[in-house]
Symmetry: C2
Subunit: 389 residues, 2 copies
């Protein structure tokens, strides 16, 4: 087991009606907030009105900044930073899913920084401070509500880049599973794929001999899989929605990587797909993860056999373990298909035109390679894109 | 799933050599500390000297208070409170296991409180503030390094009582699994039983339909069981020690009870055993838990069948599920026996003399009953003590 430091201080306020506590929570930090959100869905569902009422009840002054898009854009982040500075705002309330929260985190670290906020995402500077971010979560997916991650897309070149620093973990996350009842099935499915990918990036680790972490990952995956089938049948199944939402946080607050190295190649490869085609991140992951698995499984056969056996209940074929491993990958693909996700680029109408460009742009996080279970060169990345066609 | 609030802000600093970071950590909070510990073992192992050196390097002033005993005593807590007040100390560094940390937490809440600290444990007052507590952990067991619990024994009547408040969660926990290599096997085993009991109190919950929590509990139990066998064979097995230590924190920081009610009857019943006989808490739990299970399993057969099947790999006997449930309990007892723990009061040379008194003293946390899966009356508690003979 590797040495580690783990800090997950986000206060989780979970359950029915908890969004009505938002005013009380915010008041602990500020009297004036940036109310950051995406499109009109929070207005249609009445969430916007409920949050506004709770804030008003506590006498909190509100400055609004809506319009966050999936794959949140740098231009809006810059606008938010200017707005906070101009208005003297010291707290950001993010109402939405991962895109809104990631955008809020970027604004948060941008406000007290003298340079351009993209410096952090380009790896040229490390954020030392932030104005605090609180969350009312509306989508179970990115885990951004308690994570140290933020991913932003720079429209100038369509570069999608992430940062990972403890300083950006939100101070609280209000999570009412009922808020996810009205999500379209496709968006629910994309969230499920994102959650599973966060777990799998940590599960497919080169660090040996951590049964505890393996089993916690397997536990989370199994519960997400069975809950996903339930919500596809009944979108208002509270307990199933609640488990997916809770799993989403655990999947990405680093609990499941304490003491071991994650892989993260699939996330890097996916970022190039969704930056190029504006595909939902979860859909991109459902395409790239099986392709990555097929490319690397022979080099760590035991791990893929364990995955097949413990997560997918595939009986181990001791004479031909590779048959077991492949069946595990097949079941993952079948599950993604069952919940309505693409598992090939062609399913999302993506052809081979830009594969070279995507491989050329893919961030080589180890300098000349990406990933940890298997260190992939740019050539490997291109082969995996081709496998995903 | 029940609504919940979850806050686990303790910074975990985990791995080889991390005790040498203690000075740096403490310096973030104070320049003068109460150095709180138990007996001479930390001096024999050299830990005392290393911690002192790290504190000295940061110029931190130290006031010592050793002598914490297992089942930590109220008298020493009162002494610590006086000492902190007299010396103007605003930070407590606990070097040890659950007893030392629980004692430090009690001192912490006692210092800023006008009344007698026992008021909190007697349920007459709620702590509003504490001076912060930091930890260097030497025993994987109680999970006190990140929990909101503290259990203290009042020598005046030998009452053992616990409190549970977020305010007492330590600010950091330094955890080096190597520090546990030299523990006697019996103490290691008692720690394992304590960790498993913390998980099982949460697992045997009346809240239905939370597969995610069930599976996380089962994952933790399985990893602890296999790691326990490893450390019994090889006390210096780093990865096995590390998993037990990591599991000890997860088992009791409330992660595994988010969204559901725990039982806690076994803990209350055990407290009376260890308060009366000064038996190690973990040994008492290894005695009382199987007895409790045998007394209640018929009322929640499904849950005990699941426990047998998923934790102990017992094949489900669908025609006679009670056979499966009983086999699960038997395997738990066998495991405790394998690692050298008593599973009957008689194994610890305890007879029936005080059972009535213990049942009379046992805290009825629901007013007239204790426990949640099954609400036990005093008569039930007495029957369980008798079953444990």
């Amino acid at each position: 087991m590797e040495n580690f430091r783990f800090l997950s201080p986000t206060e989780i306020i979970f359950g029915r009606g908890t969004e009505n506590q938002v005013g009380e929570q915010v008041r602990k930090y500020a009297q004036k907030v940036l109310f950051h959100y995406g499109g009109g869905s929070i207005k249609r569902t009445g969430l916007y009105a409920r949050v506004m009422a709770s804030l008003a009840q506590q006498g909190i002054e509100i400055v609004e900044l809506g319009g966050v898009q999936p794959n949140p854009r740098l231009s809006l982040v810059r606008e938010g930073i200017e707005l906070c500075r101009r208005e003297g705002i010291t707290f950001i309330l993010a109402i939405g899913g991962g895109s809104v929260i990631d955008s809020a985190k970027a604004i948060g670290v941008g406000v007290p920084y003298d340079g351009d906020v993209w410096d952090f995402y380009a790896g040229k500077a490390v954020p030392q401070a932030t104005i605090p971010v609180g969350v009312v979560l509306t989508i179970a997916a990115a885990g951004s509500e308690a994570s140290k991650s933020s991913v932003i897309t720079n429209e100038d070149g369509w570069f999608k880049r992430g940062i990972n620093y403890d300083v950006i973990r939100p101070v609280f996350a209000i999570m009412n599973p009922e808020l996810t009842f009205t999500l379209p099935p496709y968006q629910t499915a994309c969230g499920v794929a994102d959650i599973m990918a966060h777990v799998m990036e940590r599960y497919f680790s080169p660090t040996p001999d951590i049964e505890l972490l393996d089993r916690l990952c397997e536990a989370t995956l199994k519960a997400v899989i069975s809950s996903a089938y339930r919500v596809m049948d009944n979108p208002a199944d509270y307990n199933a929605r609640a488990q997916i939402m809770r799993a989403g946080t655990i999947a990405h607050n680093d609990l499941l990587s304490t003491g071991r190295i994650g892989d993260w190649a699939s996330h890097q490869m996916e970022h190039e797909i969704s930056a190029m085609y504006d595909l939902a991140h979860g859909a991109g992951l459902a395409i790239i993860f099986p392709a990555w698995m097929k490319y690397v499984y022979k080099q760590h056969l035991d791990r893929f056999v364990q995955f097949a056996n413990r997560v997918w209940d595939v009986e181990v074929n001791f004479a031909h373990p590779e048959v077991t491993a492949l069946e595990g990958i097949r079941r993952l693909e079948r599950f993604f298909t069952d919940i309505g996700l693409p598992t090939r680029l062609s399913h999302a109408d993506i052809g081979s035109e830009h594969l070279d460009e995507m491989a050329a742009k893919c961030r080589m996080t180890n300098g000349d390679s990406v990933g940890q279970l298997v260190k992939l060169t740019r050539r490997d990345v291109l082969e995996i894109y081709k496998l995903a066609l």
